[in-house]
């Protein structure tokens, strides 16, 4: 529950990493060339937009080639001093156990700010003299700050995978999670993520975790990564900040439909505020916000919106008193919206049957759908003969018969008796 799918479904082999065939090949060739002696370029510089698979390529290849991977992140090379500390590692040929070492300097974008100009010089020194392969990753190797470093590196550009490639990755995850996902839905996620695979996987988890089926309606609301990010950020603030002012500000500043936001908060609050006492408070505030929503609808007095915002942000935020935080819980798409769109067709059919009943039974279609339809269902499931008779009498079409009968086989039996 608390692992992210980006971790859980991280590619295990180079083949599972989607896209960038050329880049991967170039990288493999360079890394393998170390077995024949130190190559001209002692470092490789993988660059490309976020979530295209730079780091995971390094990690996976190191594993496949049984190399010891030494990962360094931003804090390790912020300053010249920090770089000197691991420079020693690079000066050795190999590990104690005879394996080969691969040094990864991940996300070097942060390096070479004004305060650590010495850092670049130090790093350049490491790259010139290292006796183990060094890999750097960044979003853009052509940023001027890398001009000195670049000379000593083999530049390998990573491109965004195609939508199709992204979808194939999502599909693999869905299969492992036992989710039957529509191609259309996955395509939508892939496109909306801007072909950022990591972000697409995160979206997939938020939308599909715990479900058996994923259809386009489930993902349609995701009208752009920004909007989703805004909603998630706001919710994180509301559900986890103790500062009610901050929560309120988050909602006020978020440029999203307040009704949509309300539904998100209403859906997710009980998953995060679990102590019953806290939950009573939080749900009370949400109910109060709902009252004000209704008042706005009635009076069109939009200035009342500020109270809706108060209750659904600060109200929920201050309710958290006794609840202890418990790891990472994914945010869920509002079930209410999902159910409404999913049951729309069903309700239309129910009403259509209701209209048929109304013609014969002197009661409204609305009431027929509620009060007569359940009995019809029982009859249609159990007694094809009576069902056929009633179908004739009510003048039901085959869709209606199938809805009442519940399955195709029974429908066939009934229809056969219709003539």
């Amino acid at each position: 529950m608390s692992t992210t799918w980006t971790q859980k479904h991280k590619p295990q082999t180079l083949n599972e990493i989607v896209g960038n065939k050329d880049a991967k090949q170039q990288f493999i060739t360079w890394l393998k060339s170390w077995s024949k002696g130190i190559p001209k370029k002692r470092a490789a510089f993988l660059h490309g937009s976020p979530g295209v698979g730079k780091t995971v390529t390094v990690e996976t290849l190191a594993k496949e080639l049984k190399m010891e991977l030494v990962e360094k992140n931003a804090s390790d090379y912020r300053t010249a001093d920090a770089i000197k500390r691991f420079a020693g590692l690079a000066s050795q040929y190999s590990t104690l156990f005879g394996g080969n070492r691969l040094i990864l300097l991940d996300e070097v974008d942060g390096i070479a700010g004004k305060e650590d100009r010495g850092g670049v010089r130090e790093l350049t020194e490491v790259l010139k003299t290292t006796r183990s392969p060094v890999v750097l990753t960044a979003n853009d190797a052509y940023n001027p700050r890398f001009s000195t470093i670049r000379k000593y590196c083999l530049i390998i550009p990573f491109k965004k995978p195609t939508v199709r490639e992204t979808v194939s990755h999502l599909k693999r995850i869905c299969i492992k999670e036992g989710i039957a996902a529509d191609e259309e839905a996955l395509k939508f996620i892939a496109e909306r993520s801007g072909r950022d695979v990591r972000s697409a996987v995160n979206d997939l988890q938020a939308l599909a975790q715990g479900k058996k089926r994923l259809v386009i309606e489930d993902v349609k609301w995701l009208a752009g990564r920004d909007r989703k990010e805004i909603i998630f950020d706001v919710m994180r603030t509301i559900l986890y900040s103790k500062d009610s002012w901050e929560a309120k500000k988050a909602v006020s500043n978020a440029d999203v439909d307040p009704d949509m936001l309300f539904n998100w908060i209403y859906e997710n609050t009980p998953y995060h505020i679990t102590d019953p006492h806290d939950l009573v408070k939080a749900m009370d505030y949400l109910a109060l916000a709902d009252i004000y929503r209704k008042r706005i609808r009635d009076t069109q007095y939009w200035s009342l919106l500020r109270y809706v915002v108060d209750f659904m942000s600060s109200g929920v935020a201050v309710s958290r008193q006794r609840t202890k935080s418990s790891g990472w819980i994914p945010f869920r798409f509002p079930e209410k919206i999902r159910l409404l769109s999913r049951t729309k067709g069903e309700r239309a059919l129910q009403f259509a049957i209701g209209m048929k009943v109304r013609r014969k039974c002197h009661m409204s279609a609305t009431r027929s759908a509620k009060e007569v339809l359940p009995y019809l269902k029982i009859i249609f499931e159990n007694n094809p003969e009576m069902a056929a008779g009633l179908s004739n009498w009510l003048d039901l079409d085959e869709d209606m018969i199938e809805y009442l009968a519940g399955n195709k086989k029974q429908t066939k039996t009934i229809v056969a008796k219709l003539a």
Binding site: A282, A287, K336, S364, A365, Y375
Partner: protein, 323 residues
Amino acid sequence: MSYEMWTEKYRPKSLDAIINQKEIVDRLQSFVKAKNVPHCIFAGPPGTGKTTAALCLAKDMYGKGYREHLMELNASDERGIKIVRETVKTFARTRSIGEIPFKILILDEADNMTSDAQQALRRTMERFTETCRFIMIANYSGKIIEPLQSRCAPFRFSYMSQEDQDRYLRHIIEEENVKILDEGYDAIFEVSEGDLRKATNALQAAASMGKVIDAEIVYSVIGRANPADVNEMIKTAMKGDFLGARKKLREMILKYGVAGSDIIKQIHTEIFRSMLPDSWKVTLSEAIGEIDFRLVQGADVEVQLSALLARMTEAGQELSRGG
């Protein structure tokens, strides 16, 4: 073989055949004799014969071609003001051909009409009295605005007596050759609570299974037809599973279309029937009352009732701690 819904097949075809509501039937028959009908309100619980009485009145009055002189409208499907302006007026203002100079308009489930639509009806009723008489049917006459009430003769339908229901159902059982045990028959009585339509529908659905009807069959039929298992939802909440309870609530509302007012009414009953300490009953009742009022005002059913479920979850926790 031909089949109908038994509620229609066995619906009385003339006022004579109506077995209950003796006083009401007597008066309606006197209208037929005089060939004159005032505007009427038929009020009373569901399944007590209101619609039947109105239909029979029209049949007895106009004879075979009664359909030409009658219009049935259903306020639940067409509750807006537009329907009054257009459909009702068009029908009401044209004179009927024949011996009787007026038509009859049955406005069923009239308590579901918006008050605007009811206001609009006021004028129509007055202007076209010569050519059209209204029969408004409602569960509660209180939901019909005063000015309309004062223009109508009120008829209050009450629950059928046990004997009358018995006579009606026995007749169907005989005609349809239904095999039913005494316990099954008693169960139908118990669950239909005086609503003859419900009893008849339950009987037909149970009979469709093709087995001898026992109590178990009846309960399973009724159970499936009434998905609002409020009791189960309350239990789930009390056990501390708020999310589970909310899910049940959602299904009731969105999947089965149960009305919020019905759910809260049942919650109220169940809470007072439960083993909770009295102090908690009162505490919860306070919350229930408040939320009931909010629902009447038109607040969101799920959000409001969820707040109530949270209270129950809290109550359940306090109780298990011995509080």
